[in-house]
Symmetry: D2
Subunit: 416 residues, 4 copies
């Protein structure tokens, strides 16, 4: 999964572990036992499950590698394994919301117990190199679930007629103010290196670093905004089949899409959107969010442009001065905001299908199922979103979702 | 819905109201917020929803009839209306388990508030005759939901690998002891009256009382037992299409039925069943439970007998001395047991489709949707079960479920 | 299946056999190989299949009872068995339209061969009593399929944008002329006999004759007409949930019903309907056709009346002078018309669920699967339709379909 | 769609047109009207529909471009349009098998009429450059449908218990003889050109020619054989989740895959497969056929190799001497055989998702929907199969199917 290169020293790893674990607790402590239990669709999971599964990951892969380690509860292995066939049978994914026991308190105790055991081993220095790698992987894994649990709780709460609030937020200044003008930055082509260079942590799907050939390209300096999406809608974007991939047009008709996810048109023609701070006006200058790959692709076609490939995107992000502003600069993937969970910057759909890099190899054992087995019929997103944990983004990072998915914080950037 | 005949005086009605409401609280107070939130299938509902819906029933139909009454929360009308089209739009039934707010505490407060308001009006004597009828109906309605919530929580808990316990219970004496012998009681035919005579409370579907012609019949003095079901299984009952209705045989194959609901065969060939007291051995002498109409019908065919019609059943129950023992005696519909929620006596499938009685009329207004609109493609069960509230059963009572349903406490009695 | 009472003599049976077989050929000879091959929905079957299946019935049950009889082709037993579990595995019902071989010519040869063999045995007098009963049953069986194949070919052709014609027919005189006034005929109640008396042929589901208690009832002297259905539509019949059973209202919404099956509203507001003679104006004075049980039930509620039970219907049909006109008179079940396959009189939905009569018994062997195993969750229709073969109807006849089915020639008559 | 470069002269185009049209007739003339009518699954189409649709293509795009051309029958535009949104509404794809009229004879007349009109214009030299391009495109389009109709008729016939034969074929010499040894050919990497160079006809999805970076690779000199697939099965290939993509493993379980499509294991453990010449033994030395992308991918993982990318495949095919034998040599894509429709060489799944080439552009108008709108969630196959028309293959050709599809003649070649 990871190569043991330049891993922080033990103390730094212990600090990171503690910080990540605490952050999950912080993100979920305002949610009631009722909020944490249900699952609003098969693709989403209960908050409680996310909390337990991220803990199970450390128990199974780190503690479980200790000779003689006895699992805290064999049933937890069944309940909180996500998809690791090598670990054994699992609770059915679609029924995660039916697991009422262990309850919230028992899950908290499970978290504390495993956490304490990992921390103790980190302090005692008794973990093998491989276990240390897995602690590091587990931290990144838990950060992924921090984003997922926010996506999932948003989806769950959105279905409640009360339109509940996850976190309070002040009203936006002026939802109708226009976006900054769209400019283009030039990225030079040629033989280019893509993928992680192994200097720090990266997921297996970002490796190996390899060469690709790119032509020159121009990439937009900012993401597509709600203001531009209003124009797309007004111009019949959701009613013209010529703009859409065939499967995308089928989704439009089957699901009745006529605006991004969570949007609603009021009787007066004004649009609101459901956010983690309840239902609010759509802010024209903000990046459009909760659009599917199909919508991003149709928009780009309507605009007479296209989506960048993930290689172009990465080259743009790596070319320093040429790419200004926005998420292409990894240092600004997560700009400071009043709240880290408000709607804001978005993952960017690319034109690239999610396939293995040349020379891709999976890790041995169950952890090898982490990424590789999902490499078909999904689409790569790059960057990060407003709810991605601050330390998490990388320019080589490959996020992925099916083409019709809309519950991620997903938007787009144009290329030409 | 009900005719105002022989209703108990106001004080008695107030006492009954208080008792019913308290009983619901008693049945649910051991369930955690997590337990009370999910919905394990579309047909089942969350405990929390049952508690809120039964309260909404009193608010909507009793308090709501007061001129100038303002609903506690308009959203509750949307969230806790079950199926009353005349009341308006509703939260989708299949998504009841996604409603995390209001939480348990807010539901308890809702219960207390409506309860206090109804009680105050009962004490003040300000309710109209029609409202008093609806209080009485609401009590019976809440009793129905007391049984439903136990069925539903059993179904929910059964899906958890931990096989949790709703209530503790001592082990059974001897699960292998055989049942009492099956005897037959003769019920004489002729022109017979069926249905409620209007002297006390009854649901609309039990009326009007009317004449039917019956031939002589013999009815079993006890229900079919697990011991007999073991024989049915051993004789290939689930593998012989000639025993089954066509739709029943399709259910056997599609759902993989090879034993009653909740049964499981251990490696040693012994059968256990999931109960409200966890997983326990199947007790040979107990009535078989959690069988569908299709299974009851196939069993009767296998046994060379048949199911009684609901009219025969009612005539048997009404003929006093001739029918001894078991649920046919309404006074014994709910024999005393250590716990009212342990597995025990069961509703009995009849041969009768659930259709309106001759001259059936629905009440005006939304409450007319109570029973009438479900009178197609369901099957009548008579009697009561171990989890039916004590005051609830009547010999004229018509319970009903689809032919493939197995999560009710349903068994059978033979006729010939 | 049948009791051997008053069967016609051998010569008469041979004549009947020849006539029934010839009638099938006559009904299908105008259909091309292409027309005869596909299946437009699971519930319908290809014309070719009907022709082969009715032949298989004689081969399997009559010829197959001969010791030493060798089936013409073992594959036909697999391909043309409809639902007889006791005969063995079958071609999947939903894929009957994928069977291209044997083709039309081979099916015709199969028909001729089996026909000749049965006829030869009838002439030689070598069939047992039981076989003779099965010849008679097979004739009635084939008559049922004559109606089914017309229902099915109508459904198939209706899906073609060319709106093809099965049979030519002159235009109707005046589609807007109103119906005759609706009058009521009185049927006296009391202990009444229902079911076939065994004097002639009847299906098993019409037996045994038994006593029922009926109250006095009034039954409409004619069927509900298209003119009345226009009023139902105009009065919002398809938009008012209070008129509908719960499952019926779900069907209205899921299937988008807003008029009977095959109806279409033109831009000028005039209604046409697809018929076996192509698309034609809806004729106001004709009985409404292609309505489901749910629609019939909703209409009756809207009209402030109800559907008769099947026992009331049969009593009405048997009471001679009191019931005038229309289908209640079995002699007029099939009035003479220019073409026997034009739209005309219709089967009448009753209020009765399709359940076995008291004392119902199935025949031994595979033929016992004929009717009995379908006796759940269907609804009884009485009378006959314009496409029912002339000799087929009986006042005791019990037709049955699921509540949402609309492709039969089904209408209704009111009672009060 | 095509650029007007080096198109054959008019006489050559007319000859090609005539030859392609005749070939379709030759392929279908042995199929009865019954064979030509049904559709065995949504993805497949009736033979009759293929014959009419390929004709409609010429009528719509070539004749329809003539000012004043009147369509032969407006209904054909509705019935035989496959998926061109810009042309208008279409008959539902899943119901193509329900169209019995026009029948076979009328379709043949339609073919002859359009054919004659196109031929006359070709002879008269009255077609525009654009129309001539569309005649050429229409020929290639019809060749694609020649392969599809054979795939589809095979799928249809396979579901018949009679296991019918499309074409007779002599028995294979020795089904158990082993394959030739697998060798590897080296393909050098670097900046490489991929895609069609515009010198002859190519589909839009093969363009533009563009540069890619490739690493050195070794490609197998022949396809994977049935002999090797026997080993895969024997080694538990279909029972080990670690070999499979997650969606692939779900397919294995949901569809019950345990061998390639059409394979069946006899009681004696020998495998047969359904072919266009009926059911026959699986021939060890032949390329494995009717495997999905998921199976190809799992096999490669099991073998410790991988699938080539489409760029590697094309580089291999273009590198002349280094690649010997087999389908990589386009001249041998379709080796001489007794019958062009017997099982033989196969399309080869690559590791590449079907995405647009850099700079891909669709043609204006309806014909722009030809390929582009399907460029998501499908997988590229290269080469050709035993049923691909002889003139059809190109080394730049991009075939594509969903990952779970098995009814194409699809196999694989390994890389490392």
């Amino acid at each position: 999964m990871t190569t043991t290169v330049a891993r922080p020293d033990l103390a730094a790893l212990a600090a990171r572990f503690a910080e990540v674990r605490t952050r999950t607790d912080r993100l979920t402590h305002g949610l009631s036992p009722e909020d944490q239990t249900p699952q609003s669709m098969t693709e989403a999971s209960p908050t409680k499950w996310h909390r337990a599964h991220t803990t199970w990951f450390f128990e199974e892969f780190v503690l479980g590698a200790d000779p003689g380690y006895r699992p805290r509860d064999p049933a937890f292995r069944y309940l909180f394994n996500s998809y690791y066939e090598a670990v054994g049978e699992r609770h059915p994914r679609a029924a995660r919301g039916h697991v009422t026991r262990p309850g919230i308190a028992a899950v908290a105790a499970y978290r504390a117990d495993v956490e304490q055991q990992v921390a103790a081993r980190l302090e005692a220095g008794t973990l093998t190199e491989e276990q240390l790698d897995l602690v590091e992987l587990g931290c990144h894994h838990e950060e992924q679930h921090q984003e997922l649990l926010l996506m999932d709780i948003k989806h769950l709460l959105s279905g409640n007629v009360l339109q509940p609030t996850y976190v309070e937020r002040a009203p936006d200044d002026d939802p109708t103010a226009g976006p900054t003008p769209l400019r283009w930055t030039h990225v030079s082509g040629g033989v280019t290196h893509v993928g992680d260079d192994g200097a720090g942590f990266a997921f297996d799907n970002e490796r190996p670093r390899h060469r690709v050939w790119l032509e020159d390209v121009e990439i937009g300096t900012r993401q597509v905004t709600n203001a531009e999406w209003f124009d797309f809608i007004a111009d019949g974007g959701y009613t013209r089949p010529d703009l859409w991939l065939s499967d995308g047009w089928a989704s439009v008709q089957d699901a009745g899409w006529r605006a991004p996810g969570y949007w609603r048109e009021d009787d007066d023609g004004r649009w609101t959107t459901f956010t983690l701070s309840g239902r609010r006006p759509v802010v024209a200058a903000e990046p459009v969010c909760h659009v599917s790959f199909f919508e991003a692709d149709a928009f780009a076609r309507w605009a007479g442009q296209r989506l960048p490939t993930e290689q172009e995107w990465e080259a743009g992000a790596a070319s320093g001065l040429e790419v200004r502003g926005g998420l292409l600069d990894p240092q600004r993937c997560h700009p400071s905001r009043a709240s880290e969970v408000t709607l804001g910057d978005v993952w960017e759909w690319t034109a690239s299908a999610y396939v293995p890099y040349p020379g891709f190899e999976t890790a041995p054992g169950a952890v090898g199922e982490y990424n590789g087995k999902f490499m078909n019929d999904q689409h790569v997103l790059r960057g990060a979103s407003a709810i991605t944990p601050p330390q998490h983004p990388r320019t080589t990072y490959r996020n992925f979702f099916p083409a019709a998915a809309r519950w991620a914080f997903s938007g787009l950037r144009l290329a030409r």
